[in-house]
Symmetry: C2
Subunit: 425 residues, 2 copies
């Protein structure tokens, strides 16, 4: 392919006409395509239907607890072991509660803000300004949660090995208003990058070097086992690094089975030091008499000891979709010098960067052609992508045919937006 | 029986010796009895085991939603209809979320405090002092939740027809720091009283007469269908009364299936005006991608249209237990003039009032004899029963034999504590 920067104005104009004709033909097809949310597809959900056959009248947990009744704020032992298998944190350091890790993140940040994350820790709200670092592009629900709690966000760049740690360390060292950092360490949403061993070690040490005594690492390991290739890439253990650094009670990890079993009907985990779990349990005890232990038991019986095997089933379904996205991007945009994108080896997203100032235009064009994309800017706090260039592609939910059609639309829209901007200049 | 007040000192002393001998015999039995928590017993839980057979591979809701996937913050239509059947609130005014109505109460009070319960309502925290009325004796978890949010509590008396409405109206009219009231309108925890039609009407009008413009009624209808006799006692509709009074967006109702199906694995409901549900949904959307719709579907398929029939099964198990408690209290304490108690026609508790200053002593004696009772004072905010006389009896979880033994211990302890105090005087 020829880089577009080398084309003459006449060549660009001719190309524009052809692209516009393609676009007119597409829009006349009245498509209804959707690449927005990171939801599992129906075939993936089917992999877990057996979970409903695990109870069969036997409501006793391994410890003899009748899971139908009240209580058990920490979660069943076997559910904590499942959390351990998924999150690479000892089972004794895991609390299982609810169906949503996002709820546990909200709880943890709110606790840090209003109560202190563990006994003796100063509540953030006693400081004046409260900010957390947000590696970008990132996950919109982290940003919405943080904003809802009235906590400010300060962007740092996400590189191929994790957050730009030099920038992070500098900020954390010098500014006591910086109280924490959001991390999606494996197959980060949306780039799919995996934090390097060195990055993990440096993050474990952040609470030590931080000017804020109450600095917290929010480690959302949402895609811990969501690999597309086996043996999978390995994320270094933050728990172990934190033990070495002595920062365990400043680090709180999250996971869930939402994209392992049923997205809406899974179980969620938080992993941390005992002092943190005790504080969270104390807060949860005010709000509920106990979690749904029956669903915890279903999950433990269905998954414990066979998480990897189960995730290979997901990979069989997802790998072709991610390959198709990569192939489509390469064949349509490769070598043109107008876009770059990631090739993740797991997770739920592909991140596409177009020329600065064009992301909103691409998404608007896609909408015109019947393709719903996540709003441009959504991968940044407050929905503000300062360069207006990042677009998140979520390939998992669409059927293969629809995904193929959607990628044709998307890449065409990238081309049109780009050529418009080149000719207008 | 002879009232003890008519006994001579010699008669009392002789009686004391006999009671002490009984107590010594009891403690030597090394009992381990428990009348603390309002948990369903195993036989009750068994009534709902069929809930696990309702899915059978069919994961589509009535509207065709795949309940295994994300989304649906309001809850499934059929789950909202189930909430309507239980709570006597239109299905369109119900939101279904999580497994715990307590969590929804926390959410609602926190929203009133920090955000305003609906669009345009002033957050309580913008006022100086914030207090809610707590009819006493009442439910300890309401008090703990309120205290955790930093909201003060002001006690009003609970009568046989509900809160002392003359006192409530006077306080609400004159003091703008009073922002709300807790209510358990049917088979109140712990007395088992049911609010009269007149009380329901007056409560619906409270937001009108309140000095506080942001006055909220927290209506925890936890025992809405938990009748022991059929046809059951009928609670007047607060929803209808609020419509007449035009106070719908100041009234928020709660319910759950916790004591209908599985205590730990049920579904929870909130009922209110659309403006309130919209605000709560907005807040929930920050914390979760959606509720466990699969469990909602199980519940709707299992219960919708047959709640009363199902609750008759519970009554068959519970009625003999409540009858035994009443019989034991009557045969041991009737006519002595040293205690009074309630005879509820539903719910989960019996409330026992001993002579002022003796509740703690009775509970301590019971503990000595191997019987765990809810801490004296627990039915009052901050654990402080100003007269130290109320004791909550929870008869549901114990097996009949254990319940009988426990009531023998409890009534003996009441007698001993009373006679000690009479002789000491």
């Amino acid at each position: 392919m020829t880089a577009w920067s080398t084309l003459s104005t006449e060549q660009l104009s001719a190309l524009r006409e052809r692209l516009r004709a393609d676009f007119a033909r597409l829009t006349s097809n009245r498509l209804s395509l959707d690449l927005t949310r990171g939801k599992p597809g129906a075939a993936q959900l089917d992999l877990s239907n057996g979970i409903d056959d695990t109870i069969n009248g036997d409501y006793r947990s391994r410890e003899g607890i009748d899971v139908r009744n009240y209580g058990g704020l920490r979660g069943l032992v076997e559910a904590r072991e499942l959390g351990s298998e998924i999150m690479d944190v000892p089972a004794t350091n895991i609390l299982v509660s609810g169906n949503s890790s996002l709820s546990l993140m909200y709880l943890a940040m709110e606790t840090a803000l209003r109560n202190g994350l563990s006994q003796g820790m100063t509540p953030w709200q006693k400081s004046g300004r409260v900010r957390v670092l947000t590696p970008v592009p990132g996950y919109d629900r982290h940003f919405a949660l943080t904003a809802a709690l009235g906590v400010e966000m300060l962007n740092v760049a996400l590189t191929d090995t994790g957050p730009d740690m030099q920038a992070v360390q500098e900020l954390v060292r010098t500014d006591s208003s910086i109280k924490g950092i959001w991390c999606v360490p494996k197959y980060a949403n949306p780039t799919g990058c995996i934090y390097s061993d060195e990055t993990v070690r440096q993050i474990a040490e952040l609470p030590h070097i931080a000017a804020a005594e109450d600095f917290i690492v929010f480690w959302d390991n949402a895609y811990a086992v969501h690999d597309l290739e086996f043996p999978p890439l390995k994320l270094a253990s933050l728990f172990e690094a934190a033990q070495i650094a002595g920062t365990q009670d400043h680090i709180v990890q999250f996971g869930s089975t939402s994209k392992i079993t049923f997205a809406g009907a899974g179980i969620a985990f938080v992993g941390s030091a005992e002092s943190v779990l005790a504080r969270l349990e104390e807060r949860i005890s005010v709000m509920t008499v106990g979690p749904d232990k029956l669903n915890q038991l279903r999950h433990a019986r269905f998954l414990l000891g066979r998480v990897t095997e189960h995730m290979q089933g997901h990979a069989q379904i997802l790998k072709p979709k991610f390959t198709m996205v990569a192939d489509k991007l390469e064949s349509a945009l490769g070598g043109l010098g107008i876009a770059s994108w990631t090739n993740p080896r797991g997770g739920y997203f592909v991140s596409l960067d177009v020329m600065p100032g064009l992301a909103k235009r691409v998404v608007a064009l896609a909408k015109e052609a019947g393709l719903a994309m996540t709003a441009a800017g959504a991968t940044f706090p407050y929905g503000l992508d300062p360069e207006d260039r990042n677009i998140r592609i979520a390939p998992t939910f669409a059927e293969p045919d629809a995904l193929e059609a959607a990628m044709d639309v998307l890449t065409l829209c990238v081309k049109i937006a780009t050529i418009e901007s080149m000719i207008d200049q």
